[in-house]
Amino acid sequence: MRTRKSPREKGQFYIWLSGLCLAAILAIVAVLLLAVIRNGVGVFWPHRLALLTLTDGTRVLGEVVRWQDAADGIGRRAQLKIGNRDLYGLDFRWIEEQAIKDLSYPAEALYVERREYGNFYGFLKAASGTAGAPGADGLPRWGRFEANWRDVRGQGLRLAAAQSAIIREINSAREGIRLHLLRRRYHGQPDDSPESRGLLAADTDLKERFVADTEEQARRLAEIHKHEATLVDASGSEKTLALVDIVRVHRPNTMPLTAKVAYGAGKVWELLTGEPREANTEGGLFPAIVGTVMMVFMMSAFSFPLGVMTAVYLREYAKEGPLVRLVRIAVGNLAGIPSIVYGIFGLGFFVYGVGGALDRLFYPERLPTPTFGTGGILWASLTLALLTVPVVIVATEEAFAAIPSGTREGSLALGATQLQTLVRVLLPMASPGILTGFILAMARAAGEVAPLMITGVVKLAPSLPVDGAFPYVHLDRKFMHLGFHIYDVGFQSPNVEAAKPMVFVTTLLLVLIVLALSSTAIVLRNRMKKRYTITSF
């Protein structure tokens, strides 16, 4: 038995250690994802409304968010989302378990999602359009109310859509005229020249049309606003609400499963396609999704060619020597610079430097209002491209280094030029490795926030960087971004507790987008790997 080695000698210990490290990392990632999913998915599911009768006789209606041991260690306490911010001033309330005399889930409790002031929890007292015999419970018939609300809400939405289309059209036309006039003035043409006067007249026409349209819309809106509902909260306070201002209404305690699923699907749809409401804590994330994806694509379009070409030069053309080694070290170190430094560089160089010069060259008449001389999606993408370019360079260099020298020589020995060798043999062979770098770069760019905050991200962008107005892609526009959204909603929101679900949902979405982008790249990489890797030998 003398030859038997101890587990330590056999290296078992190190195998276990490395396995443990892997397990720890996986566990942390899993916990993170689970926390995000658990907290985020709750948003898409309707919660029951509990009616609490307290020992002092008051009644409270709301969603029980969680139970927690009381701070003094005696008993438990519940956190209740009580909504009705306009009545109570608070959305949330803690209630001691001992103070609760009775807890029930009344069937007629209403969950009302409003355009303003958050949710309303209460009961329906009266509503227009629900005349006729009251239901068995003495309240206006729920079905009739719901149908009426749907009808009014639909009218309201159509009206709003029509109105914003008109406003957009008129504004874009007036903006065109304004810029045209600015340019004419800048070139010294007086305002009383025939052409300028024509422009001014056209602008006045548009202004009049705008006023007329707005008045007409306001009149129709007032008409719609006549449909009202009177709601009453758990303590008996009444609240009258225009039906059109109700985004969602249902009775969660008696909701059938199909309705719950429909509610969840509606929430998901709103999240993906809707605009944010209520200081970003409600509504959708569509502008942030578009901004994030577009920014990542633009970043890739800049950093990918730049990084690959740099690496090709370093590896295939530059003569190996102290200078090249120095450059290589510098590139490696670039990856370690804090991203905010890139942001500051982007602000100074791209925004004020390049953007300012562009403004002076092409848009002097608009100054001092900047066009490109202010943060925008172009500058943010370029800044992130700089940030990610070292990753692409290093990965590409590694990929080239991994190609056997025989392959390179084989091509050259057949009379191929260096460029032909590069394009026909080396680049295809390096492509899987290059794509790996690309995936890392994309993931990093999608998750970066700090440099964006000073180069073009805003908490609420009035318009998307792509839209139907010429020239369709507006590189100078500010944009919204999921990562910044998380920071803004989570830490800059006046109502942090109410914003919490949105933070988790946004995080989930950002993770999913990164996952989708990198999965696509990984599939592509595997395909290339299959094609260009030597399998036999």
Partner: protein, 261 residues
């Protein structure tokens, strides 16, 4: 030792080295090689590792250009034209002088694309010309029957021996005058080696072949002439049979009888 050398010269050589010296930085790796390569013959370069035979071979198509710090002196004439002339078109030279490497190096492309690679990069696009060249080269390399049904499959799926013959087909597809082979069989099993050797003997009807080998039996089987190099010197050069049966120098005799190297 110069007095001990016995280097035969040949009339009308295709390729001629005259006092060829090569330096890696300051170190001289070839000490003045003077050697004739007669046309349409197989010339084997033998010698112990590090004697400079691969370096000499790589001078002929200027593959040494790829290595930093290499400097060549002396003359190396292909049909009377100086190969080391800086004004010479290296691309053109490499089309005239093909090369087969020790480790087969097919490109990650289809078999067909591998064979016509040299033609494509020289700008030939006509489908018919490429097809004909592919078939001719693969036939010549004795690979046609094995791959004709899967020409458009990846070359990386071939066996080691097939890959090496594919590399030979790729080299002859551009119709070179000289083919350089750098230990083409060292990574192959005996059967594949035999096939490649048959191929070399076959090809010498049309091409001048310079082959570096560690295997003296192989040199004996395929080469018309054999050169023995030792530490950067050409020690002996002459018809294979004479070199192996009646070596003129002690060093050659010691080497071929296995006393060193």
């Amino acid at each position: 030792m110069p007095d001990e050398r016995s280097v035969q010269s040949y009339p009308n050589p295709v390729l001629q080295a005259i006092d060829l010296r090569l330096y890696y930085g300051r170190a001289e790796a070839l000490h003045g090689i003077t050697m004739d390569f007669p046309g349409r013959q197989v010339i084997a370069l033998i010698g112990p590792s590090g004697c400079g035979k691969s370096t000499l071979l790589r001078c002929i198509n200027r593959m040494n250009d790829l290595i930093d710090g290499v400097r060549v002196e002396g003359r190396l004439l292909l049909d009377g034209q100086e190969i080391n002339d800086p004004a010479l078109d290296v691309i053109e030279l490499r089309r005239r002088v093909g090369m087969v490497f020790q480790k087969s190096n097919p490109f990650p492309k289809s078999i067909y694309e591998n064979v016509v690679y040299g033609l494509r990069i020289s700008g030939i696009r006509q489908r018919q010309a490429l097809d004909e060249a592919a078939e001719r080269s693969l036939m010549r390399a004795g690979l046609w029957d094995e791959v004709k049904d899967r020409l458009h499959e990846s070359a990386l799926g071939l066996s080691g021996g097939q890959m090496q013959r594919l590399c030979i087909a790729r080299a002859i597809a551009v119709s070179p005058e000289i083919i350089l082979m750098d230990e083409p069989c060292s990574a192959l099993d005996p059967r594949s080696t035999a096939r490649v050797e048959e191929l070399i003997v076959e090809l010498r009807r049309e091409y001048t072949i310079a082959i570096v080998t560690h295997n003296m039996q192989q040199a004996g089987r395929v080469a018309d002439h054999t050169a023995f190099l030792y530490e950067g010197d050409l020690v002996e050069y002459g018809p294979t049979e004479r070199l192996f049966t009646r070596p003129a120098t002690r060093q050659t005799e010691d080497y071929i009888s296995g006393r060193f190297g």
